[in-house]
């Protein structure tokens, strides 16, 4: 059986619309703290999570929303959690970086890489208590340099655990390009721990679904861990707000204003020579230009999936309206009595 693109698109769109709502609420000041969206990762969430079933577990990182949406977590509870509402998924105690759903065996962590060990533990429990169940860990490319995650790959391999590691490779860790801080080749690195790797375009939901199908199926049947290396995008920057350098996710024009002190600093006496200063400037500017993701990105996974369904515009419109309605209802309920924990 192949992927059901209608189903997958629907899940992706639910996540996208939900996170767009979260973004508005954050900007209105109704959600506090940092806010990392998973926009651009929806194909990975949908392609992987739609294979999960009761007793399967997930370890999530700071972009945990899309997998939870796809997994079927109650969206009102999820939104209330972010609003800090005592009726939230975690009674408002966790917030968006620390989302937990015991019912779905889903745990998030705000510590980069810590999901690796958690997932290994989930998989160990599956191996001993629920054969046939699996665990999935979602994490970014930046996490691939975190020791505990590397150790987790090894543990999974030597214990032949039913765990699928999903690396959402958006080429960035905050403002650092992965390639600048990651030696060698990730595929070889992972294989070097005895874990087989499948690389996949993580903006193509059907490809992800296929790759995940065989990885998860193998894990269920006792073949041990698998690693999906899935490229993706970071459509809303590292997190919402002006971001580092006051530029990453805001209009380029802002750079000039915030760059003045930096400009002055680069002209001060003592320090590196002019060549090195120039290099540093070039690095900063290069970074800023690369980090600014265009609003409508050609690889946007939601748009890509949608374009494949364009041949049936009626069904498409119905689906989209249904999703919009769902999210509207979620918002209405969650915000009904003021919402939030202030």
């Amino acid at each position: 059986m192949g992927p059901d693109l209608w189903f997958l698109y629907r899940q992706m769109l639910r996540s996208r619309r939900f996170e767009e709502a979260v973004k508005r609420l954050w900007e209105e000041g109704k959600i506090s703290g940092e806010m990392h969206l998973g926009t651009g990762e929806e194909a990975i969430a949908a392609g992987v999570v739609s294979h999960l079933r009761d007793g399967d577990a997930m370890a999530l990182d700071h972009r945990g929303t899309p997998p939870l949406v796809v997994r079927g977590v109650d969206l009102v509870a999820l939104l209330r959690e972010m609003l800090g509402d005592p009726r939230g998924l975690c009674a408002g105690m966790g917030g968006h970086m620390h989302l937990f759903s015991r019912e779905h065996l889903a745990a998030s962590t705000g510590i980069v890489g810590a999901g690796g060990p958690l997932a290994v533990g989930f998989a160990l429990a599956a191996q001993l208590l629920r054969p046939g169940n699996v665990a999935v860990a979602f994490f970014g490319d930046g996490a691939m340099n975190q020791g505990m995650l590397l150790e987790a790959l090894n543990l999974a391999a030597v214990w032949k655990l039913p765990v699928v590691f999903v690396c959402k490779h958006n080429a960035w860790a905050i403002t650092t390009r992965s390639e600048a801080v990651t030696g060698g080749d990730l595929t070889q690195r992972v294989q070097g721990f005895g874990v087989p790797v499948t690389a996949v375009d993580g903006t193509e939901v059907e490809s992800v679904w296929q790759a995940a199908a065989s990885a998860i199926d193998g894990a269920r049947r006792g073949q041990g861990p698998h690693f999906l290396l899935a490229t993706c995008l970071r459509l809303d920057g590292h997190f919402l707000g002006r971001g580092f350098l006051g530029a990453i996710s805001y209009p380029f024009s802002r750079v000039r204003e915030s760059a003045a002190p930096t400009m002055r600093a680069s002209l001060r006496r003592k320090g590196a020579g002019p060549a090195q200063r120039g290099l540093a400037w070039a690095a900063l500017l290069g970074m800023v230009s690369k980090a600014v993701t265009p609003r409508r990105h050609p690889r946007d996974p939601v748009r890509k999936a949608r374009s494949k369904l364009a041949s049936d515009p009626g069904r498409l419109r119905a689906l989209e309206e249904e999703v919009e309605r769902e999210i509207r209802d979620v918002l209405a309920i969650a915000l009904a009595d003021g919402g939030g924990g202030r």
């Binding site: 975690c90 105690m93 060990p117 533990g121 989930f122 429990a125 208590l129 020791g147 505990m148 214990w159």
Partner: protein, 336 residues
């Protein structure tokens, strides 16, 4: 009656629990040879030797606990817990709270602790106060084999993360392994009450957070735990020569603390002497001072703790760790 050693007792309790609860698994480096009795009985599915990856296997134990197992994860020496601190501090200790109370982490972290046998700075720490600082971690430090067994069962029944510390000076197994007591040319004075207890057919769980008065005394109260309980008892005995009646409270746990038992004693004596093998600053010793003051007690206070990195050389090691002479001297200063 047959008697039983410290580590033997803990393993006996663990075996009893494992026989009754399939969810209990033991993970850690070399567990197959550190606990061969458990290994041959429960097999390598449930007694799993790990690679030297403390961060990952302690983290995995947290995940396993969330997903239905009851892991006992062993970190050989508490010093190495620093390598896995994130799993305890940011995960085990916090997930129940961050999940809004919906998800608990029934995990026991077992480690050896303490010094006095010559391993030096990175291998003889106690760190119970360091761990107890984190809300959400219970820390157990037993002082006799029988109570170690009972507290291990208590820890398994606690349903929340517990760090269970086994003092190496009390452990027949670790003192031989690391102190090399098997060579016959070195000897350690291990008080019988700490080293051996009567064996039992069946161990009963002991609740965490209950201190015990090891010795009544009206002049001052010595509060301590672990190996130092025995030093304190010796010091209390020595103090009788001067007509001083010193009581000894064995806290048994650095967290949760039994404030009541402690304060009831201190209320009577008006003098609190904390003997804490862990580091002095920002630790358990200060906490007990605060507890006494918060109870509104008017108290004279002194402490005997480890104030610096533990030296290797035996003569300085002895001076740096709490010892009977230091305790007696501190008691005298309190009574002066």
């Amino acid at each position: 009656m047959r008697s039983i050693g410290f580590s033997e007792a803990i393993d006996a309790a663990l075996a009893q629990a494992m026989a009754e609860d399939e969810r209990i698994v033991l993970l850690g480096e070399d567990v197959h040879s550190i606990h061969p009795e458990l290994f041959v009985r429960f097999g390598e599915r449930r007694v799993r030797a790990t690679p030297i990856s403390e961060a990952a296997f302690v983290g995995a134990a947290v995940g396993a606990a969330l997903a239905g197992l009851r892991p006992v994860v062993e970190v050989m020496l508490v010093d190495f817990i620093a390598v896995a601190a994130d799993a305890l501090v940011n995960h085990a200790a916090k997930i129940e709270a961050m999940s809004g109370g919906t998800w608990r982490v029934p995990l026991v972290v077992r480690a050896t602790c303490g010094g006095g046998y010559g391993d030096g700075g990175q291998h003889e720490q106690s760190l119970w106060g360091w761990l107890a600082h984190i809300p959400g971690l219970a820390v157990v430090v037993p002082s006799t084999p029988a109570e170690a067994a009972g507290l291990m069962l208590g820890a398994l029944a606690y349903e929340r993360p517990v760090v269970f510390l086994e003092h190496k000076m009390l452990s027949e197994k670790w003192l031989d392994l690391l102190g090399g007591s098997g060579r016959g040319t070195v000897h350690f004075d291990v008080p019988a009450a700490g080293a051996r207890s009567p064996a039992r057919k069946r161990w009963q769980p002991m609740p965490l957070g209950q201190a015990v008065v090891r010795r009544e005394g009206k002049d001052l109260t010595i509060a301590t735990l672990g190996w130092s309980v025995h030093l304190a008892l010796q010091a209390a005995e020595a103090l009788t020569a001067q007509g001083v009646k010193a009581g000894v409270v064995d806290l048994r746990c650095a967290s949760p603390l039994d404030r009541e038992t402690l304060c009831a004693q201190v209320r009577r004596t008006g003098r609190l002497l904390v003997v804490d093998e862990d580091y002095q600053g920002c630790g358990l010793s200060g906490e007990l001072a605060a507890v006494a003051l918060e109870a509104g007690l008017s108290v004279r206070f002194a402490r005997v703790c480890t104030e610096q990195t533990i030296p290797y050389t035996p003569q300085l090691e002895r001076k740096t760790l709490p010892n009977v002479e230091r305790i007696v001297a501190a008691a005298e200063s309190l009574l002066a």
